[in-house]
């Protein structure tokens, strides 16, 4: 690709949008730069298997003709920046498969409301990012498109389920990538690929109505290469949307402002394991070291954790029920053709009694009480995002964690799903690298609805670690073990 295009893909999203607004760049310039980059590197990672470059060019030209600019004054206006959308929400006229072979050739009849919002607010959908089938795993493989590989070492997993999004960002294919999160899927791949993913509060970013309209577990959210870009993307996606019953009212201030004011609240807690999860020693150390960097910048950092006992027992039934709400129809309509990772939890939900479900709800409520009590004495909680560094991409899950056998596929992501129970927002960002160069990420967790606190603290931590400067990279090969 040209030197000019290479420079463009290295811009931050904010700088790219600023140049678009100043008319120093056109949307078409960025579409072509990203398209060229994708064609150059995606073969090595397979992050963006579905591309709609011509559609994107049409959108770019429309904007350049002055059309579709009604929301120009919105704080989340992207002025024509190309975006990747996860292959779990529909884009009209574009192949939309959910990573499921039943829908391998499906062309979406209409766009998800969030995609409509992106397009109204100046985002241009350029490509769709790879996901495991229906987002069902924390690694990214599906029968249609195969693996997405970690650009830092293409033998390793990029995490999941927003794995394609994370890999595309790390490899410089797009500036912003949309993702979803029900058990950690915005944050796990961010950790694996050394980029930033934010799990917002439920209701912050609209979801299309589905069978689980009132269920707060699954959210949509922003991913980017750095905290400031995530904040911009959150402004782009967030806002009142009454078609989603969980919707929150608009905030007075844009999230971008929080990210532009790096600062810490006075009391920060760090926990290597949230009091319950097995965690590899190297992950503990790298995350602890990153958290310690915050000392002396207006905060005291102490080792402490809310008591998350019962998180696994609470989460799994609620997760299973959530799948039942949304996927029962597709499983029944296509028997034998949907991934076991969807079918098995769904079957478990069907066997569940109301007493069991009620017990899970009560366990969740008890955790929430303890978690919230913790926020009376601490302002932020930092922990690793996942228990291990990225592992062999051929595996669905690591075989062991910190010397103990892994008991189930989600065992290594317990730290991520535990947070989902609380409803708190969480920001996953780079913490460092293992001795053999594998990314390790941490998550910052704030009080309910307080994404702004996450962005202020994340922006400061990012300045201190300097890790945002390391991306984008050229995909690299490496050993699996």
């Amino acid at each position: 690709m040209t030197a000019g295009a290479d420079e463009l893909i290295r811009l931050t999203a904010r700088e790219a949008v600023a140049r678009l607004k100043r008319r120093e760049l056109t949307p078409l310039d960025l579409v072509e730069a990203a398209a060229a980059r994708i064609e150059a590197v995606d073969g090595a990672v397979n992050a963006l298997p579905i591309r709609c470059f011509d559609r994107a060019r049409d959108y770019a030209k429309r904007l350049m003709e002055g059309k579709g600019r009604e929301r120009e004054d919105h704080p989340g206006w992207l002025a024509g920046l190309p975006i990747a959308v996860k292959d779990l929400i529909d884009v009209e006229g574009v192949r939309s498969t959910f990573g499921c072979p039943v829908f391998a050739d499906r062309i979406a009849p209409k766009s998800d409301p969030l995609v409509l919002r992106m397009e109204e607010r100046g985002g241009i959908v350029l490509a769709r990012s790879n996901t495991p089938e229906y987002g069902s795993l924390a690694t990214t493989w599906n029968p249609i498109f195969g693996h997405t590989s970690n650009p830092w070492n293409t033998s390793l997993t990029c995490g999941g389920s927003s794995g394609g999004a994370a890999a595309a960002l790390a490899a410089g294919e797009v500036w912003l990538a949309h993702g979803t999160d029900i058990a950690g899927s915005l944050r796990i791949p961010a950790s694996c690929c050394s980029i930033v993913g934010l799990r917002p509060s439920f209701g912050r970013v609209p979801r299309a109505i589905s069978g689980r309209a009132f269920n707060p577990l699954a959210v949509q959210g922003p991913m980017a290469r750095n905290v400031g870009d995530v904040a911009l993307f959150l402004d782009h996606l967030a806002g009142y949307f009454p078609d989603d019953p969980l919707t929150l009212e608009d905030r007075a201030e844009p999230f971008a402002r929080a990210a532009a004011e790096p600062s810490l609240p006075p009391r920060i807690a760090f926990s290597p394991d949230l009091g319950f999860a097995p965690v590899a020693p190297e992950v503990r150390e790298i995350c602890a070291a990153a958290a310690r960097r915050l000392e002396g910048h207006g905060a005291v950092v102490e080792q402490a954790s809310p008591d998350m006992a019962g998180a696994e027992e609470a989460f799994m039934p609620l997760y299973q029920m959530s799948l039942l709400l949304d996927r029962q129809e597709v499983v029944e309509q296509h028997p034998g053709r949907i991934a076991p990772a969807i079918v098995e939890p769904l079957e478990a939900a069907k066997r569940m009694t109301t007493v069991e479900l009620a017990a899970a709800e009560r366990a969740r409520a008890a955790i929430v009480v303890r978690f919230n009590e913790f926020f009376r004495t601490h302002d932020l909680l930092i922990a690793p995002t996942v228990s291990v560094p990225p592992f062999d991409k051929e595996l669905r899950a690591p075989a062991e964690i910190d010397g103990q056998p892994s008991r189930y596929d989600f065992h290594w992501i317990a730290l991520s799903y535990a947070v989902v129970l609380t409803g708190c927002p969480a920001l996953a960002m780079p913490a460092g690298f293992t001795a053999d160069g594998r990314p390790v990420g941490l998550q910052i967790i704030a009080r309910p609805r307080d994404e702004a606190a996450l962005l202020r603290a994340g922006a400061l931590l990012e300045q201190l670690t300097g890790l945002a400067e390391r991306v984008p990279i050229e995909p690299r090969t490496g050993a699996a073990a």
Binding site: L248, M321, L325, T354, A358, E361
Partner: protein, 481 residues
């Protein structure tokens, strides 16, 4: 007692205004309320527990901050005495939940809604009567007996916030807190000719409870008129850590909006929820006439309804599950101390599978979509708040309406329950009386989170109805038939 009688006739807003100006003290208002309570309580039994000394202590503490008070820092209520429903704990005050199991229970900590109200200057004076655990639309229980309708003391005041409604109608308090799952803020408002608002989930924080993410059960305000209702909502609304569903208070207060209300452009009215709910003919006529009044302030009124097919079945399933989630351990232990209706309701929940619960949530999502589609055409939905006027207090529940028979204690409240299912905000505003003098309320339903539009329309309707200003009344005897 002329001064006292004058004080209890003030609106809550006037009382708060005089408090903030120092023209009256919280102690004087407590005395006035107590005098009125002594006059009417022997007849209506609305406020079975008083905490007068506690209230006086709180009042004195507020009065010591006089300088602070004049700056408005006493909060929205400035020392106004209020009643709290006996389902919500008040620290140091007997809180029975209407149940013999808790007949002597004195909690150490208050429910967060009580904490919030006290922080906003509300002085808790009394607990208002409720049926056992708030279950049912007729306010009677084994601990305190029946609460009677002041318009005709042979009749029920509805439920479950029956004591609250009666305390307002008789002038015992200016503002009374309530809660609503199957109409408990709206049915008693309808039956007692007061106003009650069921807010969106998370608008009014409450708890913590055993089932923290349960969005179908909400707390809310009741008052004698819409302006006071808005004030009370302002005093309640806001986010607290202990309630993970709670959302921040809106930027503009409800009080401001209601002071200069803007009319809706177009409203849809249904006398019987598109045929899905049985409603007595006289109630249908009174509500239809009331709906037409919306034209007086410039709204287009059309007959229209979302499709509520399947709503009541889904409501029943979700309701039954909530008994298992929040009450089952207790019911199991003390079965003989629960009223048969609650045991029936919990057993229904136990017999269900989690999968049936899932199916009901899917139906709920589908019905929410129908509300969304309706609100694309109409700003508000108007309908009856209750299917019947107040009935004989000796009847535990209504078995037949307009030829349809019911076999359980919930179905007669379908007018409220189908709306509860959608979680949209809904209020009951007095709209007339039957030929034999029994109150009827109009239900106004707004899109999710849009209490602002709802309250403004309610204010305009209240003015157009000519019914404002009739309260408080002295209790009147009458016959049941």
């Amino acid at each position: 007692m002329a001064a006292s009688a004058e004080l209890i006739r003030l609106t809550a807003r006037e009382a708060v205004h005089r408090l903030s100006k120092g023209e009256v003290t919280p102690l004087e208002l407590i005395d006035a309320a107590v005098a009125r309570i002594e006059e009417v309580e022997p007849t209506v039994h609305a406020l079975p527990t008083l905490c007068v000394e506690r209230a006086r202590d709180h009042a004195r503490r507020l009065m010591q901050n006089r300088a602070v008070l004049q700056g408005g820092a006493r909060g929205w209520l400035a020392g106004l005495p209020i009643a709290i429903k006996d389902l919500n704990e008040v620290a140091g005050v007997r809180t029975t939940h209407g149940s013999p199991i808790f007949a002597d229970h004195v909690p150490q900590k208050s429910d967060v809604v009580v904490e919030r109200l006290e922080a906003n200057g509300g002085v808790v004076l009394a607990k208002s009567n409720t049926p056992e655990f708030g279950a049912g639309g007729n306010t009677f229980n084994e601990v305190f007996g029946e609460t009677l309708n002041p318009w005709n003391t042979a009749l029920t005041c509805g439920g479950s916030s029956g004591g609250a409604a009666v305390s307002l109608a008789t002038g015992e308090v200016w503002l009374a807190h309530g809660s609503d799952h199957g109409g408990s803020l709206r049915t008693p408002a309808s039956f007692c000719s007061v106003v009650g608002l069921r807010p969106s989930p998370g608008r009014v924080p409450h708890g913590p409870g055993a089932y923290a993410f349960y969005d179908m059960s909400v707390n809310g305000p009741m008052a004698r008129n819409v302006g006071d209702l808005a004030l009370f909502l302002d005093a309640m609304a806001g986010q607290v850590l202990a309630d993970p569903l709670s959302t921040p208070a809106p930027a503009s207060s409800y009080s401001e909006l209601v002071a200069s209300p803007k009319p809706p452009k177009r409203v849809g009215f249904t006398a019987d929820f598109g045929g899905a709910v049985a409603v007595e003919p006289e109630v249908r006529e009174i509500c239809a006439r009331a709906a037409k009044r919306f034209a007086d302030f410039g709204a287009e009124v059309e007959e229209a309804s979302p499709d509520f097919t399947g709503a009541m079945d889904a409501y029943h399933v979700i309701r039954a599950f909530s008994f298992v989630a929040s009450r089952w351990p207790l019911i199991e232990q003390h079965r003989d101390k629960f009223k048969p209706e609650i045991v029936w309701n919990a057993e229904r929940g136990l017999k269900m599978t989690a999968a049936e619960f899932g199916a009901a949530q899917r139906t709920r999502s589908a019905i929410y979509q129908r509300m969304v589609d309706f609100f694309a055409e109409y700003d508000l939905l108007l309908c009856p708040a209750a299917s019947v006027p107040p009935f004989d207090v000796k009847k535990r529940w209504v078995e037949e309406i307009d030829g349809r028979r019911f076999d359980n204690y919930v179905d007669w409240m379908s007018a409220a329950c189908v709306i509860s299912l959608t979680s949209c905000p809904a209020a009951s505003i007095p709209c007339g009386f039957t030929a034999d003098g029994r109150p009827v309320g109009l239900q106004i339903v707004a899109p999710m989170r849009d209490e602002a539009s709802l309250l403004q329309a309610a204010a305009l309707f209240e003015e157009a109805s000519g019914l404002a200003g009739q309260l408080p009344i002295d209790p009147r005897p009458g016959t049941a038939s």
